[in-house]
Each structure stands twice: as structure tokens, then as C-alpha cells.
């Protein structure tokens, strides 16, 4: 290598141009990794501190105690009820809505889609105070069911938008063949459209699930009873408690809480390879 450099001085610069991106990216990657690495190592450390270090006392006890606590189990269960309920509701409701929006000629289609797209952009945070007042007025606050319904409604705009675009890419010929064979609209929906829409259904479902699983503000405002709080709010309360904080346990709770989101992202990636190209969004 060094003899090469001596013979051809230009090679040095060429090498640098090739290696530099790797060096810069490695530094950025390391900086991004450090905070997470601490979380991972602390979760296996029986006497975790706030600084990154190899576990002084390597153990899975943090996980065991996090998982065996009845309060934590309930928090995860509540989170699951909210996220799963919302995702199922969103998939069914958005799926139904996307069919006529994609297949039929409707006079109100254009304004409807514009309203949907417009609502996609509105920050949910901005409506939380009136939503709370609305819930208070109807006496439906502190209810897992109504919180789920609100989460579903807030996820609907982008879900309908995505679902309609997926529906547009499903060819019509197969449905037509089913009609020719005398199948009803419901049979066609169930046996022809739904299987073809599976990638779309999974993408929308995963997005919706991850969105409400990670959502803190909505349950924080709409739910009050400790027994109804999901993991997102439970973890904040542990973390907010003054006094002796057991970082290892909190870290293991965080890891367990983060896992479903990571797993869904990995599964979902197979379906959303084109999700980030805006070219696709304007198709319709």
C-alpha cells in the first residue's frame, strides 16, 4: 500500500475520496448508536448507572422483574388493547372507504380526498384540548373504548389515503372476472379484493399499530385511572418518580416496550419499499 502511494501520488487523494464517506458515516453511526447501546447494556446490568459501560453485574433479572410485575403486565395489556383495537378498526374502516374511492365515479370524491389529505397534515396535538373537553362533556373520558375510537379517527386520514393508493394498484380485471362468474360484491371483496390488498392492509395496519403503541399524549390526556394506562404512560410515570430510580429495570421496560415497534418495522419493510418516494403519493 505505502509503495503504491509513493509511486502514484494521485492515488492518495483518490483513496481519501473513497474512504472519507465511510469514516464520516461510521462516526455518525456511532453517535446515533451510543444512546441506544446504553439502554441495551443497562437493561442487562444488575447495578446499572447512567453512563455507558459493560454490565458490572450481567443478569437478566431486570427483565424477569419487569415482566413479572402485575402493574407492568396490565400496562402492556392496555397498550395492546388500544393499539390492536385501533389498528383493526382502521384497517376495516379505511379498507371499506377505499373501495368506492378507488373504483366508483363519485361526485364528492375529489373534495373528500382533499379533506382527507388536508387532515393528514393537521397536528393531533392541536386538537387534544378540545377533544378532552368534548370527552368530558359526553362523559366518555377515562374509557379505553373511546380512546381507541379517537386513536382510530386520528389515524384514518393517512390510512384512507394509503389504502386508496394500494387499491388503485390492484387490477380490476380479476374483479370483473368474478362478476362475470356471478359473484356478489361481498364475495368479490372477500375472496378477490382482500387477498390482493394484503400488502396494503398490512402496511396500514402496521402504521396504525405502531402509531398508537408509541403514542403518549392521547392516553395521557384521555385516560386517568392507573389501571387503564398503557405502557407509554406507565414508563413515563416510573421515569418521572423522584427518589431512587432503578435504571436497569426502566431500561428493560423500555426495551420490551420498544420491541413490538421494531419487529413491526422489520415485517412492514417488506411491504413499504416504495413508501418514501413522493412520486407514489401523487398517483391516484
Amino acid at each position: 500500500m505505502s509503495s503504491n502511494v509513493r509511486k502514484r501520488p494521485k492515488f492518495n487523494r483518490y483513496m481519501l475520496a473513497r474512504v472519507l464517506p465511510y469514516i464520516i458515516l461510521s462516526i455518525i453511526g456511532l453517535l446515533f448508536l451510543l444512546p441506544l447501546l446504553w439502554l441495551l447494556l443497562a437493561s442487562f446490568d444488575g447495578s446499572a448507572t447512567l453512563a455507558l459501560r459493560m454490565p458490572a453485574d450481567l443478569t437478566a433479572a431486570n427483565y424477569a422483574s419487569t415482566l413479572s410485575s402485575a402493574d407492568n403486565q396490565r400496562a402492556f395489556m392496555n397498550g395492546l388493547i388500544l393499539a390492536l383495537g385501533q389498528a383493526l378498526l382502521v384497517v376495516v374502516v379505511a379498507g371499506l372507504a377505499s373501495y368506492p374511492l378507488s373504483r366508483y365515479q363519485l361526485r364528492y370524491k375529489r373534495p373528500f380526498m382533499y379533506i382527507i389529505l388536508f387532515a393528514t397534515g393537521l397536528p393531533i396535538t392541536a386538537v387534544m384540548v378540545p377533544v378532552y373537553q368534548f370527552f368530558l362533556y359526553l362523559k366518555i373520558q377515562d374509557s379505553l373504548l373511546f380512546t381507541t375510537l379517537f386513536l382510530a379517527a386520528s389515524a384514518l386520514p393517512y390510512s384512507i389515503w394509503m389504502m386508496k393508493n394500494f387499491m388503485d394498484s390492484v387490477p380490476l380485471e380479476l374483479e370483473e372476472a368474478a362478476w362475470v362468474d356471478g359473484a356478489s360484491i361481498w364475495t368479490t371483496m372477500r375472496l378477490v379484493v382482500t387477498p390482493l390488498m394484503l400488502p396494503g392492509i398490512f402496511t396500514v395496519g402496521i402504521f396504525a399499530f405502531a402509531g398508537s403503541w408509541g403514542n403518549f399524549l392521547v392516553p395521557f390526556i384521555l385516560l386517568q385511572s392507573p389501571s387503564k394506562l398503557p405502557a407509554a404512560v406507565a414508563i413515563y410515570q416510573y421515569f418521572g418518580q423522584n427518589g431512587i430510580v432503578q435504571y436497569g429495570k426502566l431500561a428493560s421496560f423500555s426495551i420490551i416496550y420498544t420491541m413490538p415497534a421494531v419487529a413491526l418495522y422489520i415485517i412492514g419493510q417488506r411491504f413499504m419499499s416504495q413508501g418514501f418516494s413522493f412520486g407514489g403519493a401523487s398517483k391516484g
Binding site: L34, P35, L36, A97, S102, T125, Y132, I235
Partner: protein, 303 residues
């Protein structure tokens, strides 16, 4: 759209008024949910912002219409002005500049590199994005703590530790949000850069354009549409950002990191001034509406 339109497809089918009915039936559940839980509360903002609704005190018994009083109070309220300023700082440095520049840098440098290397770096960045905001807040609380990893690194090179969350609270939440949100911009720019035809750059290279010239004159102009759309999107996402700041600093110390969503929360749920809180929401909503309209215009959607 033309390929999908069933009208004119050769097959005869039950349609006409039946189709309209079916469409209405299929759309009703989504309309109901949206109306009840999204549009009604959003419209309610416009009414409640003009009331003195409160959970405590005399106003709690009877809510009255008070006209623009919430707004005249707001513009004289020093904390409100601080929170507007903080929101702008946070938006500008964490999203518009921070996430976009970092996301572009990573996507640009990754372009054409080793596949495995790319996926390792990409996964690390994405992990910070996939993690729920509360977890991000906890991780950064630990990272920036007096005895956290950041200070351990600083001390190891012989410098004095920094009390990040007290001395530089705004910088801290901005760092945390860049860490959390960069992946989105990275993915957008990766997709956009992937669409830039290689030949164009190669032609410029043959003509003797330097790497910098190629970046400024060719690559960026070719993806400018994605840059602008992404900017509006990250602005909208960051505008409503509550959890990360709330869990990390609670808006403090003092009101050093009090952004509009945090101030709205404090007024509505800590001071129980729901009317005033809603007036602050309305400000957020109006900024959101403007950005959202801009976003729609930029996408140039054809329906």
C-alpha cells in the same frame, strides 16, 4: 386513474343508483369516526378559544363567551411570546435544518456504498426513529445526565462535564429530536437520490465538474421537489411534538424549552384554563392548516 375507472370497461355489471348506495354505505363508518372524533373537536377549537372555560374558579361553574379576550391576553403574555420563540427555534434547528441536513448527509454519503455497511448504518439511524418518543426521552435523559455517557466522553478527553439539561436545555431537546427524527428525512432522500439517473452525474463528471459542483448544481436541483415536500412534512410533525420535550425537560428549566404544545398543556391541564389552552391550540392549528395547505399544493395531487 384511467385504468381503474370501471366505466367503459366492457363488462356489464349491476350499477347506477346501486353503486351510489354502496359507496355511501362503504364510506359511512369512516365519515362517522372522522366527524365525531376529528372534525367536531377541530371545529370546537374555534368556539372554545373564545370562551373562559375553566376547571377551577368562578368560570368553572359557568362558561361564558368572552370574545377576543383570550387572544388579547395571549399577546401580552410573556410566556406565550417565549413559547412562540422556542417553537420557532425548535422547528428550525431540530427539523428544518437538523433532521434535513443530517438525513441528506447520511443518504448522500450512503449512495453507492457497500451494501452491508449501508444497512448497518441505516438500521442504527432507523432504530432511533422507530423507538417510541417516551423511550427516546429516557435514553437522552440518561445520555445527557450529569453522570451520563456524554459527560463521560467529555471527561475522558480532559474537559469539564456539562449539565446539559440545565445549562443548554434547548440544545439538548434539539439534539434529541434530531436523533429521533433524522431517519424519516434519510429515507425520503434515499428514495429521491435513487431516482436521480446515474448518467447525468457521470456526464457532469466527464465534463470536469467537481464533487461539490455536482452536488450543488445537479443532485440538489434534481431532488428539490422531495426536499421541499419533506421540509413541510417534518415541520408538521415537529410542530405537534409534545412527548419528547415534555418527558425530557417538562418545558423547563423555567420555561426555557416551553414550546406551544407544552404551554397549551400547562395552561389547559395544569392551570385548568381550558379556554385559554384552546386559544393556544387554535394558534397551533392555524399554523398547521397553513403548512398543510402548502403541503397539498406542493404534492400537486391529481385526483
Amino acid at each position: 386513474m384511467e385504468a381503474i375507472n370501471p366505466r367503459g370497461s366492457g363488462v356489464k355489471r349491476k350499477r347506477g343508483s346501486g353503486e351510489q348506495w354502496r359507496a355511501a354505505m362503504f364510506l359511512t363508518p369512516s365519515w362517522l369516526l372522522l366527524l365525531l372524533f376529528f372534525f367536531v373537536p377541530a371545529l370546537l377549537t374555534f368556539y372554545l378559544a373564545f370562551t373562559n372555560m375553566s376547571l377551577t374558579g368562578a368560570a368553572a361553574a359557568q362558561t361564558e363567551f368572552i370574545g377576543f379576550k383570550n387572544f388579547t391576553n395571549m399577546f401580552q403574555d410573556a410566556t406565550f411570546r417565549t413559547s412562540v420563540f422556542n417553537t420557532i427555534l425548535f422547528l428550525l434547528f431540530s427539523a428544518v435544518i437538523g433532521q434535513q441536513v443530517m438525513g441528506f448527509l447520511i443518504a448522500f454519503l450512503m449512495n453507492g456504498r457497500n451494501r452491508t455497511f449501508r444497512s448497518v448504518i441505516g438500521s442504527i439511524v432507523i432504530a432511533g426513529w422507530v423507538a417510541p418518543e417516551v423511550v427516546c426521552a429516557f435514553v437522552w435523559f440518561a445520555f445527557l445526565n450529569d453522570s451520563g455517557t456524554a459527560n463521560a466522553m467529555i471527561e475522558s478527553i480532559g474537559l469539564k462535564p456539562i449539565t446539559w439539561l440545565y445549562t443548554f436545555p434547548m440544545v439538548s431537546v434539539i439534539f434529541a429530536n434530531i436523533w429521533h427524527g433524522t431517519a424519516f428525512s434519510m429515507l425520503v432522500f434515499q428514495a429521491a437520490l435513487g431516482d436521480v439517473p446515474r448518467e447525468v452525474e457521470e456526464a457532469a463528471m466527464i465534463d470536469g465538474a467537481s464533487a461539490w459542483q455536482r452536488l450543488i448544481r445537479i443532485t440538489i436541483p434534481m431532488i428539490i421537489g422531495s426536499v421541499v415536500t419533506n421540509m413541510v412534512l417534518v415541520t408538521l410533525q415537529t410542530l405537534g411534538s409534545f412527548t419528547l420535550i415534555y418527558a425530557l425537560t417538562g418545558g423547563g428549566p423555567g420555561n426555557a424549552t416551553e414550546t406551544l404544545p407544552i404551554y397549551m398543556y400547562h395552561q389547559a391541564f395544569v392551570n385548568y384554563q381550558l379556554g385559554y389552552g384552546t386559544a393556544i391550540s387554535l394558534m397551533l392549528l392555524l399554523i398547521g392548516i397553513i403548512a398543510s395547505l402548502l403541503y397539498m399544493k406542493l404534492l400537486k395531487v391529481k385526483l
